[in-house]
């Protein structure tokens, strides 16, 4: 399957670019090169500055770090294991595939790493009410969970189309005492839930903390979420040193907004490691029915930041399509946009059909039920492994478990089988 373009991309992806100093970004205005920034209605600027200041103070306070570490250990169950997917590796006929098992974190996905951090920050700031948006429901569940533990009121906005696709997660959020508000505007998916959460925040800035679930949104959110998710990459580095005897040759993660991916990638940006982000190809990027803004979008402004977005010629945001609700988003975190332009990471896409095949293979050959989002990353890792040597290693972020996806899979197999 290796084409010339593919081989060139792999060379591009391999190894650090010395001109990049990823630890220095975002800059003081929240920019990653031309991306990021703060594009919001004026009412939200004061709360964004308040958040930035509170976060800087928290970072300087060792007690905050201790509090987070304690929750990540006792509540989330970290560190998550590194697992050798030996059979999938053998089937792929090349490099060894390892999973970073974020699916084993509390609530079944990486999302909890961020919600614990932001909720503890909210508590420090004296906020009593938490709001969140959710697509697949994983971020909503992770938010509802920590809100319950901290005794905070919680409202989660979710597109009505996503509520239908992910009804189990809606039920879980309600069990934790969260109010789930369906969003019927626009495409009734993640982007519209984000709009609605922003509207709630504008109206309730005094007592409300908005926990954004991905590395998008206005500054400082892309940085905040990246920092809280980077525990994935830091643990992976340590575990790789022990289990692989050094760094992996490549990293692979799925990219919707891109929080699990940046969490894995960021601690490796200065290393000689190839980095691949996998977007949702939907029916195929060529059909236009997909959710791959880095592959097929262009620079624009959505949800408070400049980044690659899927838009028509008139600058209207386009509907996205993916079997995976968590990847069904027309934008992407601004740091990914910057990493793409710098050539430090390579972004590829995997379509619905390929993701489903990887989903089944992982169930049948490894006894692991991956989320449909994660299945995109696994599908690409299998393709990539086939082009690499047996003694090379690929570390895949197994970002979430797939229990929530039973209905989507059953529905899709009716169409695809």
């Amino acid at each position: 399957m290796t084409t010339t373009a593919e081989a060139e991309r792999r060379i591009d992806a391999h190894g650090p670019n010395n001109s990049i100093k990823p630890e220095s970004l975002p800059d003081g205005r929240g920019h990653f090169g031309p991306y990021g920034g703060r594009f919001v209605a004026e009412t939200l600027m004061a709360p964004l500055y308040e958040l930035e200041k509170a976060y800087a103070e928290a970072l300087a306070d060792p007690a905050f770090d201790r509090e987070i570490q304690r929750d990540l250990t006792d509540f989330v169950g970290r560190p998550t294991p590194l697992y050798h997917a030996a059979t999938l590796s053998k089937d792929s006929g090349g490099a060894q595939i390892w999973f970073k098992r974020e699916d084993l974190a509390h609530t079944g996905a990486h999302k909890i790493n961020n919600t614990v951090g932001q909720a503890l920050l909210a508590k420090r700031m004296g906020k009593t009410r938490i709001i969140a948006e959710t697509g697949a429901g994983q971020h909503g569940v992770a938010t509802a969970t920590i809100a319950a533990r901290l005794g905070m009121q919680c409202v989660v906005y979710m597109g009505s189309e996503d509520m239908r696709r992910q009804s189990t997660n809606v039920y879980r959020m309600r069990l934790f005492g969260a109010e789930v508000r369906g969003v019927d505007s626009g495409s009734k998916t993640l982007k519209d839930a984000l709009n609605e959460a922003m509207r709630d925040w504008v109206a309730n800035v005094d007592d409300t903390f908005y926990i954004i679930g991905t590395v998008a949104g206005p500054h400082p959110y892309p940085r905040l979420v990246r920092d809280f998710q980077s525990v994935i990459g830091r643990e992976s580095r340590e575990q790789a040193a022990e289990r692989l005897g050094g760094l992996p040759d490549a990293l692979v993660a799925c990219v919707g907004g891109g929080s699990n991916a940046i969490g894995l990638f960021h601690p490796f940006l200065n290393d000689d490691v190839a980095i691949y982000g996998v977007e949702a190809g939907g029916d195929g990027v060529a059909t236009g029915r997909h959710a791959a803004p880095l592959a097929a979008g262009r620079s624009g402004v959505l949800h408070g930041n400049r980044t690659y977005i899927m838009q028509d010629d008139a600058g209207q945001i386009q509907a996205t399509h993916s079997i995976s609700a968590g990847l069904d988003y027309p934008g992407v975190g601004p740091e990914h946009a910057w990493l793409k332009d710098q050539g430090r990471a390579v972004y590829v896409s995997v379509d619905d059909r390929q993701a489903l095949a990887a989903f089944h293979a992982t169930c049948e050959r490894e006894g692991i039920l991956p989320a449909l989002e994660t299945s995109h990353a696994i599908a690409y890792a299998q393709q990539l492994a086939a082009t690499m040597r047996h003694d090379q290693t690929i570390l895949v972020n197994c970002s979430g478990r797939g229990d929530k996806d039973m209905a989507s899979v059953a529905e899709a197999e009716g169409d695809l089988s």
Binding site: F39, L44, A46, G186
Partner: protein, 276 residues
Amino acid sequence: MSRLASRFNVLKHAGRAALIPYITAGDPSPEATVSLMHALVHGGADIIELGVPFTDPMADGPVIQAACERALAAGTTLSSVLESVVAFRRDDTDTPIVLMGYLNPMDAMGLPNFAQRAAEAGVDGVLIVDMTTEEAPETLPVLAEAGLDPICLVAPTTTDDRIRRICQRAAGFVYYVSTKGVTGGSGIVAGHLADKLAHIRPYTELPIGVGFGVREPADAAAVAEVADGVVVGSVLVRVIGEHTGSLETTCERLRAQVAALKQGIEDSNKLSLAAQ
């Protein structure tokens, strides 16, 4: 002097606040917009605020969201909005027009290109809702160079330092967002508003318009007592959204609604003159 500045000048001498009705361009169809704009003027609009529809209007409530969806479904684009302005200007060269919208459609057209086309079409001011003063250095000068007044928002949460910086960049008028929330809310408290505007005045010579939450003629009257302009949007957009009859009758209802708001402002004017 810009059309906006001279309009505010005239009103200032008359001792009256500007009535600034908002409609979403292209709602219910691009063809209807010019007639609806004229209806606003016939009802007593001093300045027209014309919304550019966007798929993701984060600062707008359900009424204007629905208007955006109707306009986009009818094929409205930023280009067609500018064409409506050109057509309106054939019959009305006096009424200032402010475009209000979100950055991305303007960005997609290319900001310098948009600014030039808007100025040529007869637009006077541009309010970009999600353009903060932090991001403005790359944007607002482009508008000013084309001869457009950059209209900037000040919110109840805006700090003094930001009020100062925003007022430095603004032209035309300063738009004060009267309530924390999205468009179409309610709850303007006239007493608070007077204090807030008194607080902003020392930072700028520009007139101050107030919007977000003005519904009834009585609200308009209360705002007119302390502000230089009253922006009314969602109640008018609702008239357009709810009416399914002919364009002619929609225009008439819209005109009547604007006239009622205008009457509110004029009553407040008489009251304050009598009080003097």
